[in-house]
Symmetry: C2
Subunit: 206 residues, 2 copies
DNA sequence: CTAATTTTTAAACGCTTGTTTAATTTTTTT
DNA sequence: AAAAAAATTAAACAAGCGTTTAAAAATTAG
C-alpha cells in the first residue's frame, strides 16, 4: 500500500485545478474524476469524500501561498527591502497563479474551519520574528508607527486585490487581458513606491 | 397585474440576502423560497428561473454598489477631496454591507456576462468627466501622472480588500471580529493619508 | 353574486448530486 | 502458478436539485 500512488496524486492535482477554477460548490465529484481521467468511485476510494478532498487541497494551496511570503519574512533583509521584495514576489507569484488569491478568499469566507491555523500560519509568523523587527524599526523612528495587522493589510491589499478583482476592473473599464497585464506591470512599481514611502517616511530606497 | 407585488419584492429581497451570503452555486431555489416564507414554485412564477432571478439580483447589487461611488465622482469637489471622500464613503458603505464586495468579486469571476457593462458603468464613468479632471490636475502638476485604471485600482484595493479578506486576515492573525473592527477604523485614515500623499505629492490636505 | 383571472400550493417531473456496493481487473505475495 | 490483496470499474442508491404541472385558494371583473 504505497502512500502517494500515482493515481492518488493525479486525483489531488486534478481536484486542485477544478476546485481553484470553480470553487467547492461550483464543481462535482464526477468532474474531478473526469479531469483526472478516471472513475468517480476512485475519488472516494483514495479520499473518503468530496469535503475531505477539498480540505486537503485547500490546506496545500495555503501552504504554497504562504511559502513565498515566509521566505521573505524569515530572510535577513532590512525591513525596507523586505517590503519591496515581498511585493515583487507576490506580483510574480500571482502573475503565475492569479486564481489562487480569489480561490482562498472566496472559500475561506464560506467555509467555517480556520485553515490558516491548521497550517500553523500564526506560529510561522512568530518564528519569523517580523513583529520584533517592526517594533525595533518603529522605535528607531525608521518606520511609521502602525500595527502589524495594518501593515500586512496594506501589503496584501495592494498585491492581491489587482489579481482578485481583475474580472471586475476589466469589466468596469472595458479593457482586455493584454491591456490589463500592461497596467499590472506599472502598478507593481507604483505600489512599491507608495508603500515604502508611506511606511518608511525617511527612507531613500525610492 | 401589479408590477411590484409585495410577494415579488419579498422574493427578490430574500434572494438578494441568500445569494450574497452563499453565492449562486451555494444555495437552492427552495432555500430562497423558504427565506421569503413561501412556496418554491412562486420563485419561478415571478422570475422564470434561478439564473434569471440571479441576474436581476446581481444587477441591482451592482447599481447599489456603484451609486455611492458615482455620487462622489460626479460632485464638484476638487480631486484631492474626491479621493478622501471616496475612501470615507467606501469604508462607510462596506462597513454596513461588508459581504457585497466579496459577493460581486466572487460571482463576477465565475459568471461570464459583463454585468458592469449592462448597468452602464463605463458610460457613467465618462459622464462623471473624472478622466478629464484627472488629466487637468496631472498637467498642472498637482497629481502624480499615472493612468486612471491604476488610480481606481489603488483606491479600490485599499478600500475593498480589508472587507473582502476579513475572514482570511482574522484567520492569519487569530483575532476576533471586535478586534478587526478596531483595526479597520484606524486603517481608513492610514489609507487616506497614504493615497493622498502618493497621488498628490504637493498637497497639504494631510 | 357569479364568472374570469390571478395568485398560491402540493406534488411530481426528470436529472444530477455525493456516496456506496459488489463485481472485475490488476498487482503483489507466497 | 495459485492465492491474497489492492486497484479500478460499472451500476446503483437515496437525496436533492431546478423546474413544471395541475389543482386549490384568493382576488378581481362584470
Amino acid at each position: 500500500m504505497e502512500k502517494d500512488t500515482s493515481t492518488e496524486l493525479k486525483i489531488k492535482e486534478a481536484a486542485t485545478r477544478v476546485f481553484i477554477a470553480k470553487g467547492f460548490n461550483g464543481c462535482t465529484s464526477r468532474e474531478i474524476a473526469k479531469e483526472a481521467g478516471m472513475n468517480v468511485a476512485l475519488v472516494n476510494y483514495y479520499f473518503k469524500s468530496k469535503s475531505h478532498l477539498f480540505e486537503i487541497v485547500i490546506a496545500s494551496v495555503i501552504e504554497k501561498f504562504a511559502e513565498s511570503l515566509f521566505e521573505v519574512f524569515k530572510s535577513e533583509l532590512p525591513l525596507v527591502s523586505k517590503v519591496r521584495v515581498f511585493i515583487e514576489k507576490e506580483y510574480d507569484f500571482l502573475g503565475k497563479h492569479p486564481e489562487i488569491a480569489s480561490f482562498l478568499i472566496n472559500e475561506l469566507s464560506k467555509q467555517e474551519a480556520n485553515f490558516f491555523q491548521c497550517v500553523g500560519f500564526s506560529d510561522a509568523m512568530k518564528d519569523a520574528k517580523i513583529e520584533a523587527q517592526v517594533k525595533e524599526a518603529q522605535e528607531k523612528g525608521e518606520m511609521r508607527k502602525i500595527n502589524l495587522v495594518n501593515i500586512i493589510l496594506l501589503l496584501m491589499s495592494n498585491t492581491n486585490f489587482p489579481f482578485i478583482a481583475r474580472p471586475m476592473i476589466q469589466s468596469i473599464h472595458s479593457i482586455n487581458d493584454e491591456n490589463y497585464k500592461t497596467h499590472l506591470i506599472l502598478h507593481k512599481q507604483y505600489v512599491i513606491d507608495m508603500l515604502i514611502n508611506y511606511l518608511f517616511p525617511n527612507s531613500k530606497e525610492f
